[in-house]
Amino acid sequence: MNRRSFLRGASASVMASGMTPVFAQSLEKSLAPSDTVSVGVIGPGSRGQELMRKLLRTPGVGITAACDIYEPRFAEVDQLVGSAVPRYKDYRQLLERKDLDAIVVATPLYLHAEHVKAALNSGRAVYGEKSMGFTAEDSQSILQTVQQSGKIFQVGHQYRYAAWFQDAVSRARDLQIGRVTQVVAYWNRNNDWRRPVADPKDERLINWRLYKEYSGGLLTELGSHHIDLANWVFGEQPTDVMGTGSIAVYHDGREVDDNVQVVFGYSEGRRLTFTSMTSNSLVGEQIWIYGTNGSLQLTLQDATFYYEPRPVHPVSPQSEVMQHGVTTGASFRAGGEMPYRGKGTPLGSANGDDPTQLACQSFIECVREKKAPIADVHVGYRAAIAATYANRSIQSGCKETIPPAPAAG
């Protein structure tokens, strides 16, 4: 019996009995406040290293092990940590270590489910990068594994940790900008999204984001954050999606689109529109939440409110004054159809903290205090399943219905 089948067996017996896994229990130790939280990293590429940097800024955290199949990563990890970090080419060997409290999974998307589930089944808390799962089955199986294992799982939807995002979404949900019916999100860049590859044989390993076998392209790598934000604002996951995309600029052998335009449907006719292009960066990354009385612009550093210009309704002498108001043949709004060009009102809660830093600190706090994370598996599932079906829609050219999360059990 190899390691993976042993773990699968352990999980299956837990499902049947409802007990805590014996294997997991043996690895979980209680942490005193003075104890160092020992973290193993599966996939210390560019994003994985960014997470390591943030974790190392959190008091009492040690990076104790790293796993990758790309040899040069290990030297980068040692440089970042400042010591020789034990290195593994097989994640199962890393998970066999007895001294790890938490695992970071920052591997390519198509590997998330395999690595996250194995890490959870080893009894550790897991920080898994977004998008949570590549396929619908991946996301469903991660959800089930979290529920069955009872382990802490935090997904990399870090916007949920930033004060200005929290405050802005709270205001939107409190109807402070009226009824919110539209979220419009942009993530535009002007680069080819490629990483340099020293040896051509490593092209797919380094530039995995560009190939459909491993990646959901712009939707999973960028758009899943915006889907999560809209899910948060609307308090639900989308029910359907229509999308399109193309390769307009970078005809370099890539398979994923270099621009996408997607509309997600929510209940009561509410919509998220996500667009992303990689050939113009004027708009950058920004999210607009549109309500009937105002708008809210969110960026990675701040939030700004814009109130709708006060409507002006002229009354003609022939108007019939009704009990509840004025009836006119037409209405007039000062400013006409010209875009508003004045200043907005900055949201006071923007304190400038880096959302990923906050997310990593919060994860460590959850590990220490055995608390449930904010960006939990349900948050991850709702965004991931929507991104998966958006890509299906782009592929099929048809509107796709997004299945709800399976009931817990």
Binding site: E50, R53, K54, L56, R57, T58, P59, L80, V81, G82, N191, D192, R194, R195, P196, A198, D252, L300, Q301, A350, N351, G352, D353, D354, P355, Q357
Partner: protein
């Protein structure tokens, strides 16, 4: 980093060159997230916000950058100082037009400036300010640090010929263009942009220039330079331009800033102990009056200070 970075590089194809350049620009963004004092989400901004309340644990790279900065302060007797953040604000050089602070403002600012007020703990990898109000400003060293990281990245990708420029004030040359001995770089003439002071060949080394010509304000006929003397808390008065060459862009950036504050004599003493460094200093009250070259033997123009005198018309005293 409020500056424009540019890269010239040789690569096997245009696409490879574009990918390499974009990777290097991504590195600028990454370091900006560490060190920008204009970006509230940067690690440096977090340290500025929190380090007066208690030790802030940071990552190894940020810690190392701060240690290097403080080391330059120690080597230069405080002429180089990244705690000048409040001082820059007091003089209106941070997101504002110039402003001459009152003596009371300066006295208050002085309590918040001083590299010894930054306490580093290598064991904890933490940073602490021992007084309230200290603000780190990486302006005198940050661009050089970014350039070094871009160089590391490009070298790791086997780039053998590239010229990287951070707004023209810090330049690094990797190798040389095919068939050349190095990259030709001109040191600007603060008084005549058409006639550079010196032209040097750079190869696997960096050149940084500090000058008042780009960032200053004039009030009642007096020109106030953005480079501050951390001891007097006032803008430097008798220096026009300093240029330093060093194999490390971080070092040349810090050096050009330091030499500007130190002046010619102290600069010569400092560079006595730095055999890898060379420098060219143009000093004077309102115009270039003196030229000092320290091991400046890379110039393609021969005796640089001799030529400098010819290139800069002498202002006759009234």
């Amino acid at each position: 980093m409020g500056t424009i970075f540019s890269i010239y590089l040789y690569a096997p194809s245009e696409q490879a060159a574009r990918t390499l350049a974009e990777a290097a620009f991504d590195e600028v963004d990454r370091v900006d997230e560490l060190l920008s004092n204009y970006r509230p989400s940067s690690e440096l901004s977090r340290i500025n916000r929190e380090a007066a309340q208690g030790p802030v644990v940071t990552d190894r790279e940020t810690f190392s950058f701060l240690a290097t900065s403080l080391d330059w302060s120690a080597r230069t007797g405080g002429a180089f100082d990244i705690t000048v953040g409040r001082l820059m604000k007091a003089w209106g050089f941070f997101r504002a037009s110039g402003h001459v602070p009152s003596e009371a403002e300066l006295a208050e600012t002085g309590r918040q400036v001083g590299w010894q007020k930054v306490i580093l703990n290598p064991q904890q990898r933490s940073v602490r300010f021992n007084v309230n109000g200290v603000e780190l400003d990486p302006g005198g060293i940050g661009k050089g640090y970014v350039v070094d990281r871009m160089v590391d990245l490009l070298r790791a990708q086997h780039v053998s010929a590239a010229l990287i420029s951070a707004g023209g004030s810090t330049i690094y040359a990797i190798g040389a263009p095919p068939g050349e001995r190095g990259w030709k770089v001109q040191v600007p003439n603060p008084e005549d942009k058409q006639r550079p002071i010196s032209t040097v060949l750079l190869r696997d080394t960096s050149l940084s220039t500090s000058a008042c010509s780009e960032k200053f304000f004039v009030l009642e006929g007096h020109r106030y330079c953005h480079i501050m003397d951390p001891h007097t808390l006032r803008p430097i008065e008798n220096m026009v331009q300093t240029t330093a060459i060093h194999p490390s862009a971080t070092a040349s950036d810090a050096l050009s800033s330091s030499l500007f504050v130190l002046g010619p004599e102290a600069s010569e003493r400092l560079l006595n102990d730095m055999p890898q460094a060379s420098a060219l200093l143009l000093s004077g009250h309102t115009h270039v009056e003196h030229c000092t070259s320290i091991r400046w033997n890379d110039s393609l123009d021969g005796d640089v200070c001799h030529h400098t005198a010819a290139k800069i018309p002498r202002k006759e005293a009234p």
